[in-house]
Amino acid sequence: MSSGTLPASLIPAPPVVRPRLSRAAQIMRLGQWVALMTLAMALLLPMGVLLSRAFSNQAGQFVWLANFATYVTTPALFTAAWNSLWTSALTTALVIPLAFFYAFALTRSRIPAKGFFRAAMLIPVLAPSLLPALALITLFGNQGMLRGALFGQPLYGPVGVIMAQVFSCFPHAALILAVALGTSDGRLYEAAAALKAKPLRVFMTVTLPQARYGLVSAAIVVFTLVMTDFGIPKVIGGQFPVLATDVYKQVVGQLDFNMGAVVGIVLLLPAVAAFLIDRWAQRQREATMSGRAVSYQPKPNAARDGLCLLHCLVVAGVLLGLTGVAIWGSLITFWPYNLTLTTANYAFENFDPAGWGAVWNSVKLATLVAVIGAPAIFTIAWLLERGPQGGPIPGMLRLTAQLPLAIPGLVLGLAYILFFNHPANPLGYFYGGLVILVANCLVHFYTVGHLTAMTAIRQLDPEFESVGASLRVPVFVTFGRVTVPICLPAILDIAVYLFVNAMTTVSAVIFLYGPDTKLAAIAVVHMDEAGQGSAAAAMACTILAITAAVKLFHVAMGGVVNRATQAWRQR
C-alpha cells in the first residue's frame, strides 16, 4: 500500500544529512562568535588578571594563599567584612517591608495618584547614591538642625550608612515587588472569596506565597547593592570601615594592588552567591505563573486603601523630602551660619579643578554608553535568540551575558586597572581615557539590558524569521523591518537605563578616570572629601537634573515613538 510502513530493518541505513547554513545564518553565527569573544575579552580577561594578582606578591611571584592568610589575620580588614555583612542585612530587613507595602499599595489597592507614587518611587534611581548621604549630613550631621533626633548617636558611621542605603535601595526592591504582585492570578482571589476566607487569611495564604520569589529577589538585590556600594560609606561612613571602602583604601591609599584584589574577591563571593540564589528564585517564579491567569482587579476597601495611602504618602514624602533637602543644601551660602540662597555652589570650577568639565565628561560617557550599548546589547540578544542554536557558542554567550550581574562595579573597576595597567598589555594605551570608562560601564550594566532585550524578543512570534526565510527575505531585512520597530520601546528603555547608570555610578569608575576624564559623580566624592559639602550637593543635584531630564524626555519621546511605530497595537 504505502512504502512508509516497510520494516526499516530491511533497508540499508540512509545517508546522514549535513544541514547547510544559509549565508545569513553563517553571518549570525559569526556575530555570536564575535560577541562572545568581545565579552570574554572585556570581562573574563580582566577578572582573570584580578584573580592572579590576589595570589601573587608585590614582586609578581605566585604565593598561593599567603595574601588571604594575611587578610584573615589582620583584624581591621576582617572587621570591615563583618560591618559590610551586618549593615547589608539590616538595610535589607528595613527596606523589604517598606517596599513591599508600597508595592502592595500600587498593585493591590485603589489609592489615588498611583502614577505620582510610581514616579516618586523612581527618584533615588535617578540620583547618585551620594545624594541622600549629603542630604542626611545637612539634616543630621555635626551641624545639622535635626541632630538631636539621633539621640546622641553620630550620623557618620553605621546610622548614616543604613539611612542613606534605605533611601537609595528602596526603588530597586519596590520595582521588583510591584512586578511580583502585579502579575498575580485574580482567579485565586475569587476562589478564596468563594471559600469565605477572611482578608488576613487571604493575605497570608494567597498574596504572600505568590510574592515569595519576588521577596527573595528583592532581598538579594538590596543586600548586594548595599554590600557592594562604595559612594555612601565613603561619604557618610566616617571611620566605619566596610569592604568597598577597604578595596579603595588598599588600592588608592596604600597602592597595595594585591591586597586590594584579595578584598575584591572577598567582596565578589557574596555577590556571586546572591546571583545564584536569585537565578534560582527567578526560575521558580516563572513556573508559578500560568498562561491562563486572569489579572487581579482590587475592589474598594476603605481600611486597606486608607492605610496604603498613608504609607505611600509617608514614603514618597521622605523620598521627595530628602531630595528637596539636597537641592536646598546646594543653594545655601554657608551652612549652617548663612542660610541665604545662592547659586555660587554651582560654580564648580571654584571647588574642583575639573569644574563643569566633569559634568560634560559624565554626559559624554553616559551618551556613548547608551548610544553604543543599547543597539549592541539588543543585536547580540537577537543573534543569540534567533541565530543558529547548534554548537557550544550560544550556551557560552548566554552564560557570559549573565555574569556581569554577579560582579560588583568596584571589583570590575579594579580588574580593569590591573588589566589595562599591566605593562605587557598593548591596550594599556586606553588607561585613563574615555574608552576604558565606556567599556567598563557597558560590561558592568550589560546584564539588565540583555535581560530586557531577551524579554522583548521572546514576546515576538518565534516564526517571524521562518516566514521571512520561506519568502526568501534575508533575516536582516526582517530584523530591520519587523523586530527592531516592534522592540523600539524596549531598546529605548535599555538606552535610558544605561545613560542613567553611567551618570550616577561611582563604584564602577572610581579607579578608572584620568585627569582629563574626571566624572561628575567622582567630583561629588572629592568635593565632599575636601569639606565642600554644599558644592558636592550641587554636583549631585546637577546629575539628578540631567538624569531626570533624560527620563522625562524618554517619557515624552515614548509617546512620539509609540505613535510612529506602535500604531498597530491599537485595535
Binding site: M1, S2, T5, P15, S22, A469, S470, L471, Q566, A567
Partner: protein, 373 residues
C-alpha cells in the same frame, strides 16, 4: 503491504498517476536520544492536497519542518521537483508556509505583509501593489489592505497569512495546523475555501492537523502518523473504511474495541466471554490466534434490523441524543457497544434504558487485526 490489513475487499486504487513532486526517503529525526521520526518515506504528486494526521507528538510537525528546512532531518533524503533539498536552508527552497499562529508581522499593514516577499529584481512598487491586490482578491479580502493584523478577525488573519505564503507562487504550500486557532464555524467555512483555492491554483499542498474531520474533508490523501511512524497513507475513505492498523482504526472515526481469538470454523471469532462472532477474510489465521476487533457505531445493528442476521441479546444502558442521530449504548455481556440510529427511530426500535434488545455485528463491518506477539 501493511501487515495489519486483513479485510477481504480489494483496496481502492491509490497509486498516484501524476509524476512524483516531493519524494521523502528514509527521513529520520532525533533530538538527542529521542527519535521524533523513524525512517519515514512518502511520495507526493504534483497538485495533490495531502494531510498529515495524528495525535500531538506523533511527528507530523517535525516532518513538515524537515520538508521546509526549518529543522533539517538527521538522516534520509528529500527531493522536490527532482532537486535534492535535504540539507538546504529554507531560503534556498521553494515553499510558502502558514503557521498556526499565522506569524503575521504586527507592525506592518495587511498589504505590507502580503507583499513582504515581493522584493528585488523586477518588483517595482506598481507591480507589487498590483500583485498584492490580486492576492487579496483571491483570498476574499480586497478591502482590508491598509489595516493592521490586530484589527482583523482570526479568519481574516488566516487569509492574509495564506495570501502572503502564496505571493511568490511557491511550488509547495505548507500549512501547520492552519485552522486550529479558529471558531468551529469559521473553521468549516475556511477549510472549504482553502480546498477550492488549492484546486484553482493547483499548488501542491501539505497540511498538518490533529483534526480528522478537517483532514477528511479537504485532502486527496491522508498520512496517518503515530509515534514518529507513518501508520497508513490513503484516501479519506481508505483511512476510514479500510484502516491498515489498529491505531488507525481506533484514531480515525469512532469505534468500539474488544479482544477476541480465532475459533472454528474459519472466519469465526470468540470473545473472552464466549460470544461467537462471524467475520470475513480471516482464513489465513490459525485457530487460537489473538486478534483485536473494531466496529463503528453506524455499523452496529439493533432492534428488528438485527433479527434478520446472526444476533445476540443485549441490554440498553444509555441513550444519548445527538441531533439527527441518537447513540444507543448496549452491553453484550461484558462487551460495550455503541449503535448510531436515526433519532426518530429510538422509540420504534424499543431502545429504552434497561430494556433487552437484539444486537447484530455484521461480519463485513468487523475490522480485525492480529495481535502482534
Amino acid at each position: 503491504m501493511a501487515s495489519g490489513v486483513v479485510r477481504a475487499e480489494a483496496e481502492a486504487p491509490t497509486a498516484p498517476t501524476a509524476p512524483p513532486y516531493l519524494v521523502i526517503q528514509q527521513v529520520a529525526k532525533s533530538f538527542g536520544t529521542f527519535a521524533a521520526l523513524h525512517r519515514v518515506s512518502l511520495t507526493i504528486t504534483q497538485g495533490e492536497f495531502v494531510a498529515f494526521l495524528g495525535p500531538s507528538g506523533c511527528g507530523k510537525t517535525t516532518l513538515l519542518r524537515a520538508i521546509a528546512g526549518l529543522d533539517p532531518p538527521t538522516t534520509g533524503s528529500i527531493t522536490q521537483g527532482g532537486r535534492d533539498i535535504t540539507g538546504l536552508p529554507p531560503e534556498m527552497r521553494d515553499f510558502g508556509i502558514v503557521f498556526q499562529s499565522y506569524a503575521l508581522f504586527p507592525n506592518l499593514s495587511v498589504a505590507q505583509n502580503v507583499g513582504y516577499g515581493l522584493r528585488g529584481g523586477g518588483w517595482t512598487r506598481a507591480r507589487v501593489a498590483e500583485r498584492v491586490a490580486e492576492l487579496l482578491t483571491t483570498v476574499g479580502l480586497p478591502e482590508q489592505a491598509q489595516k493592521y493584523p490586530a484589527q482583523l478577525s482570526g479568519g481574516q488573519q488566516q487569509r492574509v497569512a495564506l495570501a502572503r505564503a502564496l505571493a511568490n507562487e511557491p511550488g509547495l504550500l505548507l500549512l501547520d495546523e492552519p485552522l486550529s486557532a479558529l471558531d468551529a464555524i469559521v473553521r468549516i467555512n475556511l477549510r472549504q475555501e482553502l480546498r477550492s483555492l488549492q484546486r484553482r491554483l493547483g499548488v501542491t499542498t501539505i497540511m498538518v492537523t490533529h483534526d480528522q474531520e478537517e483532514a477528511m474533508s479537504v485532502s486527496d490523501r491522508i498520512v496517518v502518523m503515530s509515534q514518529g511512524r507513518i501508520e497508513q497513507v490513503g484516501t479519506p475513505e481508505d483511512i476510514y473504511r479500510r484502516p491498515a492498523t489498529p491505531f488507525v482504526a481506533g484514531f480515525v472515526g469512532r469505534s468500539a474495541h474488544f479482544d477476541a481469538k480465532i475459533d472454528t470454523p474459519a472466519n469465526m471469532l470468540i470473545t473472552p466471554d464466549g460470544l461467537r462472532l462471524e467475520a470475513r477474510g480471516l482464513a489465513h489465521l490459525l485457530y487460537g490466534a489473538r486478534v483485536e476487533v473494531f466496529i463503528r457505531p453506524e455499523d452496529v445493528r439493533i432492534g428488528p434490523e438485527a433479527l434478520v442476521m446472526r444476533h445476540h441479546q443485549g441490554v440498553v444502558t444509555h441513550v444519548e441524543f445527538m441531533g439527527a442521530l441518537s447513540r444507543v449504548s448496549v452491553e453484550l455481556g461484558r462487551l460495550r457497544l455503541d449503535a448510531d440510529v436515526p433519532a426518530g427511530m429510538v422509540t420504534a426500535l424499543g431502545a429504552f434504558v434497561g430494556s433487552a434488545i437484539p444486537v447484530a455485528l455484521p461480519p463485513e463491518a468487523l475490522m480485525v487485526f492480529p495481535t502482534d506477539v
